[in-house]
Every structure is written in C-alpha cells, then in structure tokens.
Subunit: 216 residues, 2 copies
DNA sequence: ACGTGTGAACCGATTCACAGCA
DNA sequence: TGCTGTGAATCGGTTCACACGT
C-alpha cells in the first residue's frame, strides 16, 4: 500500500507531520501557561523525543515562524498551529456505538482543546436510546442518516462491534461523513475521498508483548 | 529453514511489521472460522489494504510458512503467528487510573484474543478502591509497587490524568514494569529498556480534521 | 502454471550540515 | 554568537521482479 501523502501548494508531507504538529501545540500550550515567551526547537523537542531538525522541517512546510538566533514566540506559534490544524473553528462529530468505550468517549474531555465537540451519539439498544450522557442525547441508529445530514456532521467515531462496523461505515459515508476514527478491530473499506484513522488497542499492546518477548 | 533461525536476530524489521502480524492473525482466525484451509498472500491482503509483497516480506523475517503454488495453510499460520507474537502464553497486565477510559478498558473483551488478561487496577479515589469491575479488584494506588512486584506484572496501561502520568510511569518502572501502553496525552520519559506505545485519540482525530480542512 | 521467498531497486521520511539572519 | 530554514545526504521501509519449488 502506498502511503498517503498530503500535498498543499505543491509541498508534500506525511500525516506523521500533522500528528506531530498536534503534539507541538499541546506542549506549546503548557509553555504558555508557564508564561514562557520564547522557545527554541532544541528545547521544545527535548520534551517530546523528537529531533530539533524534525520540528523545524515540519514547520517549514507551512511557513517561517521562528526568529533566527532567538527561537519561536510561543503565543504566536500556538495561533499559527491552531490555524494550520484547522481548529480555529469548531468541529462537530458523531459517535456510533455507546458501549463501554463509546460512553467513555462521550465523557472524554481531551477533545475540547482541539475544538472538537461531540454533537450526537447513536446506538441500537432501546434501553440506551433517549438517554443523555454528558449533555449528548443518544439517538436511535435507525435515524443515523437523517441526523447526520440535518446536523451536517462530517466526522464520526465508530465504537461498534466489528461485525457491524462496515455497514455503519457505508451508512455514515452515504450520509455525508468524510472522516472516521475507527475503534472497531476491522479494516474498513471506503472510497478514497473518505479519510480513516484506526485506533487498535489490542495491536498496540501486542506490539509491546512482542518486544518484551524478544529481548536480547 | 536453518537460515531463518540464525538470522532472525540479525535481521531487522520495524514495529510496523509486528502490528501487521497482529492484523494478519485476526483475519486468519476469521478465515479459520469459515473453514477456509488455504489462503494466498493476494487474497488475504485484499481484505486489509496491505500489499501482497508486504505480507510475504513480513512473514519472511520469521521463516517460510507458505507452499509455493498454493498459499498458506490457515491453521498452521495461525499457530506460527501466535508463537511469533508470544501469545501462546498468558500476559498479565495492570491498569492505572480507573476513570471513564480505565473502567471501559477493564471491561474490554478485545484483549483476550491475544491472551492478555487484566490482573489488577489502581486508582487514587477512595470511593473506587475495593470495588470490583469485571472481576478485577481496584487497588489503592499507594500499593502499586507492592502489588506489581508480588504479581510479577510486566505490562501496564496508563489511563491517568496527564499531570500524574510521568510519576506513575516512574513508579511502575521501578516496580518492574517493562512495557507501557499510554493513553495519557503526554510524552513519557523512560530508560531505553522500557517500551512505550502511545494511544492519542485527540491527535488521531485532529489528523482527520486537518485532512478535511485541506482538501483539494 | 501458480504463488512463495527474497535480493535489488525504489521511494519517502528523517537527519545532516551549513548558509543566512538577528 | 545562536538558532532558524532548507537543500543534500542518508537511512530504512516498501515494492518490484523473478528465481524457485510444487
């Protein structure tokens, strides 16, 4: 599989660059809280296990944000990154599947810093439908298309059992969803104008097991 | 093959290879359930968005498991992968932080297929300590070192707030933990004989936002 | 003929190293 | 001097292409 590349104005970079920008932003905000005004690529990357050259290269795809001999102005760079990442406006998302994980995500506070707002949730279980968790009403999955279209939601999390994840995906896409964060342990098939990111906790743990098991 | 045994330690491959092995295993098990006996690299990778060459290369680091002209015997390959991945024995793990996410993970069934068993959980909240979730007793985080050492646990999940994650990490490592799956949004510092894998849901979502925001 | 296993070629991401500027 | 920005060099993972075995 060829790795998907992102090209903006003839400049190409990988999704890894984008993930790192999020990490930079998170640390810059911590620095801002500590009232630190300037930071060098060397200092900030020490906290992150990333090379200073990588940091500078990542930023270079989007412009010149530093002052030679000085470093980067923390507040200014935060603004720039928020702009680059597209989180200066609110992103409304849906959650499909309000089981253990789904309901944990409905209460997850970590999204708000990126201006992500869970707007609606769906489940098939009659006992859950109508309930409100953390201000989010659980809808009947039968209404999925209608609600997604009405609310013009473009992003969704999938926390369903794996057997139904592909079907849900198809329905989400036909309703206008363009990005999916998938927690179900299956590879979803979508048209190539739909973006998918997978979070596979069992595989991540398995990787650690392999490493421990093969030391030396 | 005599070659593979000797060379496995000299041959280098990435953790991506290991993650893919987990994916292969998952799909092979599905095929086994459907009573499919043989599968070619071509067929199995169609389901996974991975190239056939990648599949063969990944396996080649560990030996020769296929029959030329035929493909791979499903049951046999499952056994081999379980062996390679080190999940022919049970792995006992700990969970630190029984908040929304932590308690969802205590109930998560997806680990069992990889022979992963959550043995113990820790929290600081007196109201949670002593409770039992899904058969797992929540211990006082004050007893972390003692329990980890007593149970000889080598793997842990961290689901604490980010502010305390580094402190918990230090304590886990000093108690003998060698692998950490970190859900807290911070970069943890550890000695290089400790393995860390990060699951950062906000960054994953942010990546999708970026893609949607920069189309065309 | 068919599909694996694998060295070689390729390609993209990371790092280097230094010019350029405060 | 100090640190950024970036073309060039490097490094490593993926894919190619074909020899080999069935």
């Amino acid at each position: 599989m060829p790795k998907s590349k992102i090209c903006i104005r003839k400049i190409c970079f990988s999704v890894e660059t984008v993930k790192r920008l999020s990490l930079y932003l998170r640390d810059l905000r911590k620095l801002a809280k500590k009232k630190i005004q300037f930071i060098s690529s060397n200092k900030i990357t020490q906290l992150l296990n990333i090379s200073p050259a990588q940091f500078r290269k990542d930023l270079s795809y989007f412009g010149e944000f530093g002052k030679r001999g000085v470093g980067y102005e923390v507040e200014k760079l935060i603004k720039k990154l928020e702009e680059i990442l597209g989180i200066n406006k609110e992103w409304r998302i849906a959650v499909v599947g309000v089981g253990r994980l789904g309901s944990a995500l409905l209460r997850f506070e970590g999204f708000s810093k990126f201006n992500i707002k869970i707007k609606t949730a769906f489940d098939i279980d009659k006992k859950k439908i109508g309930k409100v968790i953390n201000g989010i009403k659980i809808e009947d999955v039968g209404n999925l298309e209608r609600v997604i279209k009405k609310e013009k939601i473009k992003l969704s999390l999938i926390c369903t059992p794996p057997q139904v994840a592909q079907d849900i995906t198809n329905r989400l896409v036909s309703a206008g969803i363009r990005g999916i964060l998938n927690f179900a342990p299956v590879a979803l098939k979508v048209a190539n104008n739909v973006f998918i990111s997978n979070v596979d906790m069992a595989c991540e743990l398995e990787q650690l097991i392999f490493l421990l098991n093969n030391e030396r």
